[in-house]
C-alpha cells in the first residue's frame, strides 16, 4: 500500500435542533403511516381471528394512521417554515437547482452517484441532488396531508369544499393518496441506502449528524 495521506477534518454545525426534530418525527410518522396505510388499503384476511377474539383491528390501525398523520403534518409545517426562515443550509436557496452554482453541484453529485467520478461532492448542507428530491417529497407530503384530511373529515364544510375544488370527488382524493404512498416507500428505500452508502464513501458522519447536527468536512475543502 502507498503512504496514507493524512487529512484534517473540521467539525461544522449545520442542522438546527428544529430540523433534527422535524427529521425524526417525519421519519417515524412516515414509517407508521406506510405500514398502517398498507393495512387500510388491503386488510389481509383476519376475519377468523377477529371472530375468535374481538380486537377492533381496523379501527385501531386507522387510529394509529390518523395519530401519526398529525405528527407528520406538524413536522411538515416545521420543515416548510424552515425552508424560508431556517439557517442557511435549511433554506431552499441552498439546495434547489435555481442558480448556476447549485446546478453545477447537482451534476457533480449525479456523476458521483453514477460512479463516474470519485470526487465526493462536499457540501455543508444537502447536496443539490438530494435537496431537489427532498423538496419533491415535501410537495408529495403536502398532497398527502390535503387528501388525507379530506378523507378524514368529510363533514367539515371548508375541508370538503377544498377537497371538491382540488380533486373533484373523495374517490379521486383517495386514489391520489394511494398512488403517492408508493413515492414514500420508494423514498425510504433509496434514502436509507444512500445515507449508508455515503457513510462508506465519505467520512462526513451524516448519519450521526442527523442526531448531533454536525458534519465533518476536510479542513482544506471550501464550499464554492
Amino acid at each position: 500500500m502507498a503512504k496514507k495521506k493524512e487529512i484534517l477534518y473540521r467539525r461544522v454545525f449545520v442542522w438546527s435542533w428544529a430540523l433534527r426534530i422535524f427529521h425524526w418525527t417525519f421519519a417515524l410518522s412516515c414509517a407508521v403511516l406506510i405500514l398502517t396505510g398498507i393495512y387500510i388499503h388491503y386488510p389481509p384476511i383476519t376475519t377468523k381471528w377477529a371472530e375468535f377474539k374481538p380486537q377492533y383491528l381496523m379501527g385501531t390501525l386507522r387510529y394509529y394512521h390518523f395519530t401519526a398523520a398529525y405528527f407528520f403534518m406538524a413536522a411538515l409545517a416545521v420543515r416548510l417554515y424552515l425552508l424560508f426562515f431556517g439557517n442557511r443550509y435549511e433554506r431552499f436557496t441552498d439546495f434547489l437547482p435555481i442558480n448556476r452554482r447549485n446546478l453545477r453541484s447537482f451534476w457533480r453529485s449525479l456523476k458521483f452517484y453514477l460512479y463516474l467520478t470519485d470526487e465526493h461532492e462536499w457540501r455543508m448542507g444537502h447536496t443539490v441532488l438530494a435537496g431537489t428530491i427532498y423538496f419533491l417529497l415535501f410537495l408529495a407530503a403536502v398532497v398527502m396531508s390535503i387528501t388525507g384530511l379530506y378523507l378524514l373529515y368529510p363533514d367539515i364544510s371548508w375541508i370538503s369544499k377544498m377537497g371538491v375544488a382540488l380533486f373533484g370527488s373523495a374517490q379521486m382524493a383517495r386514489f391520489i393518496h394511494y398512488i403517492l404512498h408508493w413515492c414514500f416507500i420508494f423514498f425510504v428505500i433509496v434514502h436509507l441506502y444512500i445515507a449508508i452508502w455515503n457513510d462508506f464513501k465519505a467520512p462526513e458522519a451524516i448519519i450521526s449528524g442527523a442526531f448531533s447536527g454536525s458534519k465533518f468536512m476536510p479542513a482544506d475543502v471550501k464550499e464554492d
Binding site: 377477529a50 363533514d155 370538503s160 374517490q171 408508493w182 416507500i185
Partner: protein, 364 residues
C-alpha cells in the same frame, strides 16, 4: 293539460299520506313537529307547475319514481305537483307535445319548476341529442331561463352520467355545467324518490331551496357518507371482511370493503332512507355500494368490485399499465437498483484495487 289525466288516482289513504309526509320530513332532517307543516304544504290547493325534460338517459329515474309496485309515493308526488309536460307520461306526441311545451312555458313563465332528467350533449354544438330538430342544449337553456327553480334529477342530469364516461363521445355534461344559474342536483342511479319528494316539499314549505353542498346536492340527503351510517360498519372497524361473494363471511353479513364497497367515498342517505318501501338498500342486501351519487362514477368508481379505480398510464413503447401496478414495479425496481448500485460499487473497488496492485508491481 293541467295534469296527466290517466295517472290521477283518487284514494291515497290517510295512513299512506301521513307515512310518506313523515318519511319526507325526516329525510329533510326536520323534527317531527314539522310533519303538520309539510302535510299542509302538500294539501295546499296551489300546486307548483312542473316541466319535466328528458335528454340523454335511460328514463330509469322516472321509472323508479313511479315504481308501480308501490304506488303511494308516486301518487303523492303526482298529486303534489302539477305536471305540465313530461314526455314519458303524457299522451300527446310529436307536434302536439311541442305545442304543449310551448303553451306551458307561456302560461307559467317564471313560476314553474324545471326538472331535468338526463345529460346534455355539448360536442359539435350538441347535435348528438335532438328533440323536434332542436338540440338538448337549446331546449334546456330556453326552458331553464324561464323557470323559478331547476332540479337535475339523477346522476346523468347532475354530472353527465353514463354517456359522460370515458371517452365521452358526445361531450355529455350535467345540466349545471351548461346553465349560468343555480341547479339543485339530486344524483343517484337512480336517485331515491324520497330525495326528490323532500326537495320539492322543502321548496314548497319554506319557499326557498334547501342548503346545498359544494356539488349542489341538498345537504339533508347527501351530507353524510354511506360508510358513516352503514350497519356493516362495526365489521369494518373490527377487521371482518367479505373476501368473495357467497363466502361464509358474506353469509354472516360482514363488511364489503374488500369486494369494492365505495361507501367510504360516497355521500348519500341510502342506508337511512332505503328503497322501495321494503327497508332494503344495496349494502344491506349484500352488494357493495357502487358510488352512484358521485361525479364521474362510471370512470372513477369502476371496477365496481375493487375499491380504487384503475387508471391506465402509458408505460413506454405503447404499453398501457395500471397506475397501481406501476407503483409496485417501481418499488421493486428501487430495491433492485439499490442492490445493483451497491454491487457496482463493490466491483469498481475491486477493479481499482486490482489495477493499483498491477501498477505497484510494475513500479517495483
Amino acid at each position: 293539460m293541467s295534469r296527466i289525466p290517466f295517472l290521477r288516482m283518487e284514494g291515497l289513504s290517510r295512513r299512506d299520506f301521513l307515512k310518506i309526509c313523515t318519511i319526507a320530513t325526516a329525510t329533510m332532517g326536520l323534527p317531527v313537529e314539522m310533519v303538520d307543516k309539510v302535510a299542509a304544504a302538500v294539501k295546499s290547493p296551489e300546486r307548483p307547475p312542473v316541466i319535466w325534460l328528458h335528454f340523454m338517459e335511460c328514463t330509469g329515474c322516472t321509472e323508479s319514481l313511479l315504481r308501480s309496485s308501490h304506488p303511494p309515493l308516486a301518487r303523492l308526488i303526482l298529486e303534489l305537483i302539477s305536471l305540465e309536460y313530461h314526455e314519458t307520461l303524457m299522451s300527446g306526441a310529436g307536434k302536439q307535445a311541442e305545442e304543449a311545451l310551448k303553451k306551458a312555458l307561456e302560461k307559467y313563465k317564471g313560476k314553474f319548476i324545471c326538472v331535468v332528467e338526463g345529460g346534455i350533449s355539448t360536442k359539435d354544438g350538441g347535435i348528438y341529442c335532438k328533440i323536434g330538430g332542436r338540440t338538448a342544449l337549446e331546449i334546456v337553456k330556453e326552458v331553464a331561463s324561464e323557470a323559478a327553480a331547476v332540479i337535475a334529477i339523477g346522476t346523468c342530469a347532475a354530472f353527465g352520467g353514463v354517456q359522460a364516461a370515458h371517452p365521452n363521445p358526445t361531450g355529455a355534461v350535467g345540466v349545471g355545467q351548461v346553465l349560468d344559474r343555480p341547479v339543485i342536483n339530486i344524483p343517484g342511479c337512480p336517485p331515491n324518490p324520497y330525495n326528490f319528494l323532500s326537495t320539492v316539499l322543502y321548496i314548497l314549505t319554506f319557499k326557498h331551496p334547501p342548503e346545498l353542498d359544494e356539488l349542489s346536492r341538498p345537504k339533508f340527503a347527501y351530507g353524510r357518507r354511506i360508510h358513516d351510517h352503514c350497519e356493516r360498519r362495526p365489521h369494518f372497524d373490527e377487521g371482518r371482511f367479505v373476501e368473495a361473494f357467497g363466502d361464509p363471511a358474506h353469509q354472516k353479513g360482514y363488511c364489503l370493503y374488500k369486494v369494492g364497497c365505495k361507501g367510504p367515498v360516497t355521500y348519500s342517505n341510502c342506508s337511512v332512507v332505503r328503497f322501495c318501501d321494503v327497508g332494503a338498500w344495496p349494502v344491506g342486501v349484500g352488494h357493495p355500494c357502487i358510488g352512484c351519487t358521485e361525479p364521474n362514477f362510471w370512470d372513477r368508481m369502476t371496477p365496481f368490485y375493487e375499491h380504487l379505480p384503475k387508471i391506465y398510464i402509458p408505460a413506454g413503447g405503447g404499453i398501457r399499465a395500471e397506475a397501481e401496478k406501476v407503483g409496485k414495479v417501481a418499488v421493486g425496481g428501487a430495491a433492485a437498483v439499490v442492490a445493483a448500485h451497491a454491487a457496482a460499487g463493490v466491483i469498481k473497488k475491486a477493479v481499482k484495487s486490482f489495477g493499483r496492485k498491477g501498477n505497484q508491481e510494475s513500479e517495483e
